[in-house]
Symmetry: C2
Subunit: 436 residues, 2 copies
């Protein structure tokens, strides 16, 4: 009880020291928000490269303002480090580490495990801990809590408090960011919830509390499962529409005129990024422990797995019109980021299509204004080429894989011999333009 009163007092007076573990697109903006609120922040990361960059005052997260980050770093308001023993200086710790899938598409919990072991071994009594990484429901209670207890020998609810609050970062979103997106929070008990709410309110506008960590865990998975399922649905309908000579983009635009009960999703070459292609499979995985098969996620995942292959078949069909095969053709991809106007190519469907085209003997080049080079599946590094009349005219087929807003549809159409447009950049299909 005393621990709680002391911590709440420190939070109120902004004398609390905050530790953020994992300085990526989730942790770094959160650390910046806490530091901006006048709270001392220590940022932990295992990457020497990242920490060195930050020590040099260099921001690498596009959603964070360079000037603000530079000021907080140079003013030592935010101290980046690889030294996890400094956890003992923190009274509140936020775990923002990756939760990827392993090569068998199962949850890879190693980053959370490692972070929890480091916290458990170093934390002092009276510490609040919140997990932000997206993960399956029950993780906080059944995976994180046992490690913290074992490593620290301390008791939750007395010596420390544990909570879960899902990150909801949408990279590139110009309106909603860490500070103005409501923060869902679930803790193991009332004290943890009270402390968590108090401290999060230093960094974000609104905290929405729920009855347990598992509810908060499920919230994030529901949000991203909704997106996976709807994108897969519209991708499947797009493939059918292609066979039925129906322009799916026109259908969606018309459906959007319904003033109730409809939310538009757009087709594309597949799902990318670090959330939607992964999170639902965390739920699918834990569901098995409860003898439950999530057929919607399974089906949506299956559609997505096939998309790169189906898009490659579209390229094959387009080239076939001109009596060409992928093998031996020059194919220029426009855009390799997983969504427009960002520099992230994680899980990008463009890369998967490129790999398949390379395997089939296609000569691949690409242009992306945000991504200077990529690695193809065979390990080769490919540099982005310029987007100009020569590079377009030199390609047997131009494939539009990301609709970056700088792409000029008219110019691309004018100078290309053949286009496979997977993003509705070119409005009208024609002999030359093959649309998804």
């Amino acid at each position: 009880m005393e621990n709680k009163i002391i911590l709440l007092g420190k939070i109120q007076n902004r004398q609390v020291t905050v530790g953020v573990i994992g300085l990526g697109y989730v942790g770094f903006p959160l650390a910046v928000n806490f530091a901006s609120a006048g709270v001392a922040v220590i940022g932990f990361d295992t990457s020497e490269e990242r920490v060195s960059k930050l020590i040099a005052g260099k921001n690498y997260i596009s959603d964070v303002d360079d000037q603000l980050a530079g000021d907080l770093l140079s003013g030592k308001k935010l101290v980046p480090t690889t030294d996890f023993s400094l956890i003992k200086s923190c009274e509140a710790i936020f775990i923002c580490v990756p939760t990827p899938l392993d090569e068998f598409r199962k949850p890879d919990m190693s980053f959370i495990k490692d972070a929890c072991e480091k916290i458990g071994s170093n934390m002092k009594p009276g510490t609040f801990i919140s997990l932000e990484s997206t993960t399956y429901p029950t993780t906080t209670e059944d995976f994180v809590l046992p490690i913290l207890k074992e490593k620290s020998g301390m008791k939750e609810g007395e010596d420390f408090w544990l909570a879960y609050s899902p990150e909801r970062v949408d990279p590139g979103n110009k309106v909603f960011h860490t500070g103005n997106t409501p923060k869902v929070l679930g803790a193991l008990n009332e004290d943890g919830l009270e402390i968590g709410e108090a401290i999060y309110k230093l960094a974000v506008d609104e905290v929405y509390t729920v009855s347990s960590p598992r509810v908060a865990e499920m919230v994030k998975i529901l949000e991203n499962t909704y997106r996976l399922v709807n994108i897969s649905l519209v991708n499947e309908l797009a493939l059918l529409a292609g066979k039925m000579d129906i322009n799916i983009w026109e259908v969606i635009d018309a459906a959007k005129t319904k003033p109730f009960g409809f939310h538009a999703f757009y087709p594309g070459p597949g799902i990318g990024g670090h959330c939607i292609p992964l999170d639902p499979f965390y739920l699918e995985s834990i569901a098995r422990k409860f003898n439950f098969e999530l057929s919607m996620i399974h089906t949506a995942g299956h559609i997505d797995l096939l998309m790169a292959h189906r898009m490659t078949l579209k390229i094959t069909s387009a080239l076939n019109r001109q009596h060409k095969s992928i093998n031996g053709s020059k194919i220029l991809f426009l855009g390799v980021a997983y969504k427009p106007d960002i520099s992230d190519d994680r899980e990008s469907p463009a890369l998967k299509i490129i790999d398949e085209v390379v395997k089939k003997g296609g000569g691949v080049s690409y242009h992306d204004p945000f991504i200077p080079s990529i690695k193809t599946g065979n390990g080769n590094k490919v540099q982005s080429v310029e987007l100009n009349a020569d590079t377009l005219e030199g390609a047997d087929c131009v494939v539009i894989t990301t609709n970056h807003s700088v792409f000029d549809a008219g110019f691309i159409e004018q100078h290309s011999k053949l286009i496979v447009d997977l993003r509705n950049l070119i409005r009208e299909a024609s002999d030359k333009v093959y649309k998804l």
Copy 2:
């Protein structure tokens, strides 16, 4: 060309005579809107009962104002009839007949076929025809057009014009109705589109034109497929959440705080009504003709097919807590309409659960303020009982199947021995309250 100019002139001067075929929840409001616009309307229906009611000035569609309908009918602005030879008096005909599924869950096109044969045999040159019934893409071009041509011996684009415009009626919606919901319209040619737009604008605020009937057909199916898939998704997640001791309703409320990229759907005992349980399967059916399997619709449909059975298992589990079986227990269902505050029980999941409970030997009664009687699967007619302390106390289990807004959660909870709440009417689960 002359036919078109004559018809456009009649539309402009409101001297056109409109025929509406099928006076149900789609056709009757449309007929009322045309009649209100000062256009002469003939309403066709095969049901003597319906037509007699209307001739007597009685409205039976709850979304239509009784006074308005009565005035239009008594003033002969809207003339109901079973005499389809009067089609020859019409210059514009709107087909608003049912498109159900047959017992093998395949499209039942008999109502459209019958309407088209009657139109083709009776229409005069210079007639505009629009199909509003929800159906699979290609219906207008490949199913309706051949019948009209054969029966009339006339030529589309010269002697008559054919279009498709999906009905988007949402029964019980207090904000959006026929007049203020944008009308999507696709025609076989520019003339048909021009005529269609002109005439629809007499009855609705906004017409949104698309490039073909098949695009317009796909629009409606996309809208309802979106709903089927998302309701099935959340129903499946609700079943898992129940096993994981997670309150799915709390999860959805928290997910709704995300200010972008999420649209809340709520779980329930299954999908009902005349659209969502049917329309997507029209698309699934035509997809087979194009050698395409719609796996998302298939999976969503499969989840929905199992819902009534799974809900019966919930009743079994709840009774089991009190050492009772369905066989021999008295079970009171609250609400048999497929959604709140309407009197429609078509495809209602409540009826399917009732049938299964009856088969298992349960003694079934129900209360619905909008539906005075139902027929169970064994052909028995059951009357709605009163909702009072006695009827609640007399039941071994009370099942909340529809969340009509008049239902008083506190009163129901107070007087029931055991509740299975499939609609989140009672917020907290307890020993007595078993929630989906």
